[in-house]
Symmetry: C2
Subunit: 340 residues, 2 copies
Amino acid sequence: MKVVLDVFGADEPPNIIIDGALLALKEDNELFVALSGDQDIILPILKSKNADMSKLEIIDAKEVITNDDAPTTAFKVKKESSLIKGLQSLKDRDDLVAFVSAGSTGAVLTGATFIVKRIEGVMRPALAPLLPTATGGQVCLVDGGANVDCKKEYLAQFAILGSAYIEAANGIKKPSIGLVSVGAEDKKGNELTKGAFAILKEMPINFKGNVEARYALSGDLDVLVCDGFVGNVLLKSVEGTAKLFSLKIKQNIKASFMAKIGYAIFMRGAFKRLKNSMDYQKHGGAPFLGVEKVVIKCHGSSKASAIKAAVLQAKTIAKAGLIEKIKEGLKSANFAENSN
Amino acid sequence: MKVVLDVFGADEPPNIIIDGALLALKEDNELFVALSGDQDIILPILKSKNADMSKLEIIDAKEVITNDDAPTTAFKVKKESSLIKGLQSLKDRDDLVAFVSAGSTGAVLTGATFIVKRIEGVMRPALAPLLPTATGGQVCLVDGGANVDCKKEYLAQFAILGSAYIEAANGIKKPSIGLVSVGAEDKKGNELTKGAFAILKEMPINFKGNVEARYALSGDLDVLVCDGFVGNVLLKSVEGTAKLFSLKIKQNIKASFMAKIGYAIFMRGAFKRLKNSMDYQKHGGAPFLGVEKVVIKCHGSSKASAIKAAVLQAKTIAKAGLIEKIKEGLKSANFAENSN
């Protein structure tokens, strides 16, 4: 199975992105990668790394979409960019099953929506990042930021998208789904979530009701549904607090001579393991769910290991039939024909 | 100055709440406290603690509002409750300057709105909890959960309420204000925040623009404005993540013999200091801003130290002229007469 990897437009230079592809190829014999970007830059890098060219292809693209390009129009203006040529190839060619990019989020989402196109019946595709949980697992947040203004029906659909994704990614049958709200009781919420709640509880999914943000990372749920504004706030609060906590720990350790010794001699390993377990980049990127093929958006600052994880993740969920699962989910919830 | 303290309806028993009052009285010579609740229970506790009765008064109230009472109607049904009699006394008596309760949030907010009443021009009073920041200070989040469905004008007013509060509480002139959004750029946001942004930037306040939730606790801002749904998500995500982080640290320490030794011998102190610095209960409760007198809601599980902090905080902001500052703020932003 062949995955398209956008080599340009990320914070890291092309050789780091390519390293990610090579690491993924080393780990999975079934995998092939099509690198999208300027051949004149990519080829020398591959040669310098003695890459196995039988597993690789280059989709030559001379332009690059950067964060300075208007995300909603870049796909029209820069048709020769690595992002757009990669997405266009994904759309046109049956042998390409997925696309991975660490480029501009807005450009990836808009490009995917207009080029790869929405699955019939999907009102709004959504981003679905994974977050680490207290029990050592992951929870999928959908929408993680693609749609800042939502209707109740969008939220109901996000449950189907997230459910299909977790089934495909982790093999969990009927993943448990919670609606992010201001309390666990059925009646808690704002107008939007109360409306979504009423739809969700009638749907053929494993809906567990409302969940307070405090318990979002408890590990009790597989999927958290919310609008993209709330999803962004939740995601970024988690990141910000984790950073603040690390900083405070360091400050407190530095402030004490005894603690400094204790850290240096005894605890460095424990903290390294902690950092690893909280590093959600290890799990890959966030799929953009609801378009006709697998599209994964990685963090802009992704290193080779995160790119590797995203490429492997893309292949896994494509192979597990993510798109078919979404179509089945839409059909069973009678959403398959009401696109708007 | 006399502060009313609701002795009943909290998770902790009356003697713990009363301990909070006595600790506050010990710290502030100007302070008087009116304890609201059943005299037959309160008086024996005061006697057993040899309390200085010259600083204390009891507002006798035989009923208690619990979390089982419907929050929006409790103020009508249980007129003899400690919460409602306390609020009614606050409204009726000029010598009472503030009210503190760790009882049912919904009942406190509804009771305060209907009994103490909104300041003229205030559309929606809001909760304003404080959160610890990376720089060792605090940031005020308004609305922290009182209004889950907001109009853009409410958000604009929240900036005035939060600004007046931080001025009164910390003596900061023209506190810096950020609007919680999905990015720092002016154009980022959903319909609600874009509308609020347009109003905020024309107002005579120190508006710094949009702020991503990731930087909410950075310490760069004094006040964060958002609707009550987003505020609740932000607040609870921070709490949940801090808890998850603590848990993970403990797990990682326990998993390693070396780390366990290091913790026991060297690091216990550093962790205790960390816990203290992150304990926002130490700063008191969340004021309910926009009603005619100072009303503070403490966490339901508040211990004596948190009650003490809230009583002192109530007196401080009443003395600093919180209500007058809010009225001035509304006037200068031409909000003083458009109540709805």
